[in-house]
Symmetry: C2
Subunit: 275 residues, 2 copies
């Protein structure tokens, strides 16, 4: 049987699916992390492990083409290196943002706002995808979980210094961290995912400091989506753990759609295009 | 001879001076880094090495009291640990920000704005020092060299994405880094000092993006100094590599003074107070 292989891989794991020529998924499997920039060899191993298991689940077959959406695929040389390590004739490698867009919108025009630990925004028009953001927390990732967590901790320090009133949430965060020095120590060792762990409390809170952080985050999301939309009334799909949070307040502003499919569906579309 | 020992220590080195009862400096010496939070043992070794050499340079004597202004002294337990490692009866350990204030203002009331790789602001009133900022780049350090460098790189990415016009400086920075992906890669491995290396180009530039970053930095400096001053007309001393840059544009707003002495002078004052 001729099969198309799709891979959706990121820093926490990778997912594989194989579909037949009719588009019916015949097998699925998962394996460990697949960030091809930070760990090329480990990523290649995990991708092959997931692919092999998905093929086994399908009862075997011949991979006509593979489509891979992977974290780190925009790092110089990473995609080429991976292609060399895979035993498939036709291999398309793109960032996981691209496969998320393809999965969410199919072939239709629209905008995707993906807000999880990081943030990235993309518009698809006539099959062409324009991506903005997704640069990481040091220089960007506005409105992401990590950005929200960092903003609330920074607000706690600024309230300590007297720039703004101390609020119950800020006071609680300071107490948990052991005061301002504890917050600073935490910030020095925190990865984006550690900062994002504070986001749920901010998102759900009616504390003035939390509302202020979320107001700025919403402004940043609106700016990104508006920049991509230009004068077009494109449908907007919100993805990621924080997607529903932002979608909820923007129904009057944007035409919000639910995703047609997942990033893994997008990877299967990519495989079909590569064939 | 009875001597007072002053130590000014930070991440790049530590300086020691011993002064006699009349305040005359009798010996000076330097040694390696002395951040007592990140490397307690190495810091203690370097501090003792510098102190011993300064005493030797003074022709020997008895240390009555030691005053130390050290990076990392605000980390929990760090100062106590160091005190136990030093052979002096009376030892006062504070952050290098405190000794910088004492050195710059003597015993007088005033404000210190220290703007180097990081930033910290402090007011001294009646011998009591109130410090704000100095929290590190992740959550603060507004208007510092690292903050300015990060802001201009972030602006380069935002111009790439179309949020703002591309300017000659941003275009040059992107080209040097190998494009937006190069800037992202740089940001992931950059220490604050690496980001601060971009600041001189921003400070000296009349590029629109640079002017915009510096306008925000100046606003942050004014906010910090104004918060500390309250309704008092206190003199302001600007310290650090970027101190003169900010001082230059603020003579109409603040009563600007030059520093009376260095952080090492402040450490000697601290030693005298500890005696």
């Amino acid at each position: 049987m001729q099969l198309f292989l799709g891979i959706d891989g990121g820093g926490t794991g990778c997912r594989a699916a194989v579909a037949d020529a009719a588009g019916v998924v015949r097998g699925r499997a998962e394996a460990g992390p697949a960030n091809i920039a930070s760990d090329p060899q480990g990523a290649a191993d995990n991708i092959l492990r997931a692919a092999t298991a998905a093929l086994d689940a399908a009862g075997g077959g011949q991979v006509v083409a593979a489509g891979l959406g992977l974290a780190g695929a925009n790092a110089a040389g990473a995609a080429d290196r991976l292609r060399g390590a895979l035993p498939y004739r036709r291999v398309a490698v793109v960032t996981d943002a691209i496969t998320a867009v393809k999965g969410a919108l199919g072939t239709g025009d629209g905008i995707v706002a993906a807000l999880g630990t990081g943030s990235v925004f993309a518009a698809q028009r006539g099959g062409t995808i324009r991506q903005i953001g997704g640069r990481g927390l040091v220089l960007g990732d506005e409105a992401s979980g990590a950005w929200i967590g960092r903003a609330i901790l920074s607000a706690a320090l600024r309230a300590t210094d007297g720039y703004a009133p101390m609020t119950p949430l800020l006071s609680a965060l300071l107490a948990e961290a052991g005061g301002a020095d504890g917050v600073v120590a935490l910030s020095l060792r925190a990865r984006p995912v550690d900062l994002a762990a504070f986001a749920p409390r901010v998102v759900q809170s009616d504390d003035p400091a939390a509302l202020s952080v979320m107001e700025q985050a919403r402004k940043d999301v609106i700016a990104a989506v508006s920049l991509l939309a230009g004068n077009d009334d494109l449908p907007v799909v919100f993805l990621g753990g924080l997607g529903p949070v932002f979608a909820a307040g923007m129904a009057d502003r944007f035409r919000i759609q639910t995703a047609q499919g997942t990033a893994l569906d997008g990877a299967l579309m990519l495989a079909r295009e590569a064939a």
